[in-house]
């Protein structure tokens, strides 16, 4: 497979990567919106959701996109026009930058980056910039409050997220996401390698903290105070309409998908199946069909994680801003620090 890829000229590879990246961002976003936002939420509220566009409303998404594209691109008169215009693009671009390091198969990656974890966590904060820009440039008090809340919240939750991932990095001994996948699938639990060694089991606390931090990063309930439609109307998105709102919308759900991808790579074994099932010992033994099977496995795991994110979103009320900060600094960060210490002690001991 790798040989096949290297026989393609560089520009061909670039196009393939662009296509792959777009699919990896947009396909999960669409699936999440249809499966969870339209259908699961409706079912949880004893209704059916969209049913008219296509069979079981499956074309509703395209209808929505068409609707948003037709809407007028409104802009407040006193808005900072340039910043206002590019803010949604900054948010969406952070999603695309994130997906770059996610491995989907033994060879199906966009870039195999040694400090992948580090890069992913760094790039994920770019969306904060976009949100701050949107909130500040809208010339709206609600947007301003929403933007400032978002900044405070996202910075507060970067930290537990990073600290939760540190445990995984210590255990895997690498910051390369591909190596983390291999380490989980080639690993064994006390000599038994039936399921490999998904870090979900050993890093359970880290996983919980990571998922809480993801929930906060995605500004989903119970951490949705930057949007908080009952308080701040729609927070930093209040003044956006039409195409620009659509980009925010895609960005929100695409980021949910990508974060779920990253979480499944870090904690659930990523694209791999336990190598012992097929007698593989390392990444070089993995059969080529995993380049097709891997993305499917990733998609399944991603959907499972997003299900949890959305389930929580549809069930819980939201925190208050100060409670959220207290939760991050007083509970999540100390617990994740303890987790790191415990992980490194155990790593040295075994």
């Amino acid at each position: 497979m790798y040989a096949l890829l290297s026989s393609i000229p560089y520009w061909g590879q670039t196009i393939l990567r662009l296509l792959g990246g777009s699919v990896a961002v947009l396909l999960p976003a669409g699936t999440i919106v249809y499966l969870f936002l339209f259908k699961m939420m409706s079912f949880m509220q004893s209704r059916l959701g969209p049913m008219e566009a296509g069979p079981y409303g499956s074309m509703q998404l395209f209808a929505e996109v068409g609707k948003w594209l037709q809407k007028e691109d409104l802009m407040p008169e006193r808005a900072d026009k340039f910043v206002f215009k590019i803010a949604p693009l900054v948010v969406l671009s952070s999603t695309f930058l994130l997906v770059v390091v996610v491995p989907f198969g033994p060879d199906a990656w966009i870039t195999n980056f040694e400090a992948g974890v580090f890069y992913a966590l760094a790039v994920s904060s770019v969306s904060v910039l976009g949100i701050l820009m949107a909130g500040w440039s809208s010339a709206n008090k609600y947007s301003l409050l929403g933007g400032l809340r978002a900044a405070g919240q996202l910075i507060a939750y970067e930290l537990p997220m990073i600290l939760a991932v540190v445990g995984v990095v210590i255990q895997a001994g690498s910051m390369n996401l591909q190596n983390i996948v291999v380490a989980q699938n080639a690993g064994s639990i006390f000599g038994w390698d039936g399921v490999g060694n998904p870090y979900l089991l050993t890093q359970f606390i880290g996983f919980i903290i990571f998922m809480i931090a993801v929930q906060a990063e995605l500004t989903q309930t119970p951490f949705d105070m930057p949007i908080a439609e009952s308080e701040l109307v729609s927070g930093y998105m209040t003044e956006y309409s039409g195409f620009r709102f659509l980009i925010f919308f895609i960005g929100e759900f695409a980021t949910a998908g990508v974060f779920a991808f990253i979480a499944s790579v870090l904690f659930l074994g990523g694209w791999g199946v336990p190598f012992s099932w097929f007698g593989w010992t390392g990444i070089n033994d993995v059969d080529n069909w995993m380049n097709v099977g891997g993305p499917l496995i990733m998609l399944t795991k991603m959907l499972g994680l997003v299900f949890i994110i959305m389930w929580v979103r549809f069930s819980y009320p939201r925190f208050r801003e100060d409670q959220l900060q207290r939760f991050a600094w007083k509970i999540l960060i100390p617990v994740s620090l303890v987790n790191i210490v415990a992980t490194s002690v155990l790593k040295v001991a075994f």
Binding site: Q45, S46, S230, S315, Y316, P317, R318, R320, E321
Partner: protein, 390 residues
């Protein structure tokens, strides 16, 4: 209880600190935030002008009147039977409850009384409208605090109650079923059994809301100790209904006054809570909804037979006089002061609606809280805009 006391004190200190900061410390420019008239949290067109320091409210002032429809004046140019069609629209979620005090006042002036069966059915429909009203509050509470699912549960189950009201009266929202001297019609066949089934469903709905919302720790942390109204302040501001009972005042007009209604004919409990915070107000309403379903069931058990209308002249002229009747409506005390000069219509009507008094405490209550707590407090005070502006 001691914990709550501490919280009360803390809230008081916080509000004092907010005051002090404006006066003494480095004076930063605050921000005036207009919440409303068009805002998702105001259930209509209430406007709250809040002066903010960061996320903290320095002072807040509700500004109402955006939806004033002038019902007090309109009643002067309507005949007595027409007025009920109008006053239905005051608290539009529990409209049947609006008719009752007016009709009772008119009956008091005419010195007639509805037959027992009519009194029973009136009370049942009154409690049904309370259930329809407060169940929507329980769902809406979730939306105000960020949980989207409860409101759909509320709309789903309120539908059953509205179907009952429609089945009996013909109108889902505006029954206009009360007549001076009784009711327009008797209940249709099968209605009693249907009601019993729906009351079971509503109790299940209350359990669901309790599990989904009231048991949730996030909900508790958002509402406990927020917007504490001490007993004496609640009385000073003329609060009524569940807001007053949540401050520990055991006061319920259904029990405390004798009206030609059927509440005193069955056993039920008045729920109170000592805390006076947002959680207490919501909790009292939840318990009251449960209690109302029980009241309805017990009234159905004892429903007397007979006519639903006394003898009244075809053209109703109410004799000269003045009457004041108030009842315990879903939102609190609602009363009508009716002055009649012996004409076809009232000479003057003063409407005391509960929400207007209940939100008058807002400036006192919002001092020193955070922006998200404005929404919590407003949601827990539970007003309906038609009831404020009339």
């Amino acid at each position: 209880m001691t914990l709550i006391g501490d919280r009360q004190q803390l809230a008081y200190i916080a509000s004092q600190a907010a005051d002090a900061r404006v006066n003494v410390e480095l004076e930063t420019e605050g921000m005036t935030l207009n919440i409303g008239p068009q805002h998702p949290a105001t259930h209509g067109t209430l406007r709250i002008i809040a002066r903010l320091d960061g996320e903290q409210v320095l002072w807040a002032e509700p500004s109402c009147g955006y939806m004033h429809r002038g019902y007090e004046k309109l009643t002067e140019v309507r005949t007595f039977p027409q007025v009920t069609a109008l006053v239905n629209r005051i608290d539009w979620l529990g409209s049947f409850a609006n008719e009752v005090p007016f009709i009772l006042a008119a009956e008091q002036l005419m010195e007639i009384e509805a037959p027992p069966r009519a009194q029973w059915i009136r009370t049942i429909l009154f409690e049904l409208s309370r259930i329809a009203n407060v169940s929507l509050f329980l769902g809406d509470l979730g939306v105000q605090l960020g949980a989207i699912t409860p409101v759909f549960f509320a709309f789903r189950d309120r539908e059953y109650v509205l179907n009952l009201i429609e089945g009996a009266t013909g109108g889902r929202f505006h029954p206009n079923f009360d007549r001076i001297g009784g009711l327009k019609d008797d209940l249709p066949a099968g209605w009693v059994d249907e009601t019993r089934a729906v009351m079971k469903k509503m109790r299940k709905f209350c359990d669901e809301i309790e599990n989904l919302l009231f048991g949730n720790e996030i909900f508790e942390s958002r509402t406990r100790g927020i917007g504490v109204i001490p007993r004496d302040v609640a009385l000073q501001y003329g609060m009524s209904g569940a807001n007053l009972r949540a401050s520990g005042v055991d006061w319920d007009l259904r029990r405390d006054q004798s009206l030609p209604m059927a509440w005193d004919k069955v056993d039920w409990k008045v729920w109170t809570h000592l805390d006076g915070d947002s959680y207490a107000r919501c909790w009292v309403r939840l318990q009251e909804t449960r209690e109302s379903t029980l009241i309805v069931e017990r009234l159905l058990d004892t429903l007397p037979s007979g006519p639903v209308m006394t003898k009244v002249p075809r053209i109703i002229k109410v004799p000269e006089g003045e009457a004041w009747v108030s009842t315990e409506n879903p939102l609190g005390e609602m009363g009508y002061y009716v002055v009649s000069k012996g004409d076809l219509g009232p000479f003057r009507v003063k409407i005391r609606s509960a929400s207007f008094n209940n939100i008058s405490i807002v400036p006192w209550l919002l001092k020193g809280v955070y922006v998200p707590d404005i929404i919590t407090i407003l949601a827990s005070l539970y007003f309906i805009l038609g009831d404020i502006d009339r």
